[in-house]
């Protein structure tokens, strides 16, 4: 079952605009991660934010985390055609049993129009 749910499912914007994607999750987490997947390829890690962090930056990426609302957002500034991809949030929950596989949402498909 999906822990994270991304919103919107699809997003189309013009090159140069900012893109914002949101993720909601259900249970307490250890950390939340964002991944990108280009068509026909594997997932690539973008950024990780821990449960005690509220905001993190990496290049043109900005991630926020609100644990009280169980939500996160990914902002891509000054979008480029190469940013066209699907973006997934993934959560790692606190588990006593030792299993700590990431649980992924279904993703936001981002299209950057040139």
């Amino acid at each position: 079952s999906q822990q994270g749910e991304e919103d919107p499912q699809a997003l189309s914007i013009q090159e140069g605009e900012n893109a914002t994607m949101n993720c909601s999750y259900k249970t307490s987490i250890n950390n939340l991660q964002w991944y990108r997947q280009n068509s026909g390829r594997g997932l690539v890690h973008l950024i990780l934010i821990r449960s005690n962090e509220r905001e993190k930056h990496s290049g043109r990426l900005r991630v926020t985390l609100d644990t009280s609302k169980k939500s996160s957002s990914l902002l891509i500034t000054a979008s480029r055609a190469a940013d066209t991809a699907s973006y997934f949030c993934a959560t790692r929950s606190f588990t006593g049993g030792g299993a700590d596989g990431l649980t992924f949402g279904k993703g936001t498909h981002l299209i950057i129009q040139p």
């Binding site: 999906q2 250890n30 950390n31 991660q33 991944y35 390829r41 594997g42 997932l43 690539v44 890690h45 990780l48 997934f88 790692r92 049993g97 030792g98 299993a99 700590d100 596989g101 990431l102 649980t103 992924f104 949402g105 279904k106 993703g107």
Partner: protein
């Protein structure tokens, strides 16, 4: 350039046949995950290994799927017998231990696209 290697990249087979997918994790990584991706279900965790020991395979249909790590450089996912509903992209991912023993980011292979006719 360290990366996770999966074979085969594409597999077309007939219902009832055995399918074996292989994964070579990044050297030094001690966790290996198998995920299945479909349009309907998204990414589902099938199995998880740490230090070659299976820790969680609750997402895997036990009657036909099996996952093993014969050694630290090879993980396998086997389907026997295969069914059309098994058609999906199967991803292997590996991760390295961080301070405190908890893993962070995962490194994914390019996937094995399976079509069962």
């Amino acid at each position: 350039d360290a990366r996770v290697t999966q074979t085969p990249r594409h597999k077309v087979t007939e219902m009832g046949q055995e399918v074996t997918m292989r994964c070579q994790p990044i050297l030094g990584h001690n966790t290996v995950f198998w995920y299945r991706q479909t349009m309907m279900q998204g990414l589902e965790l099938l199995a998880y290994f740490r230090n070659r020991a299976p820790l969680d395979d609750s997402g895997m249909p036990k009657d036909r799927f099996s996952a093993e790590m014969p050694d630290a450089t090879l993980a396998t996912l086997k389907i026997q017998p295969s069914e059309p509903r098994d058609s999906a992209v199967y991803f292997c991912a590996s991760g390295s231990p961080l301070a405190g023993g908890r893993t962070g980011e995962l490194f994914f292979g390019e996937g094995s696209r399976l079509t069962v006719l």
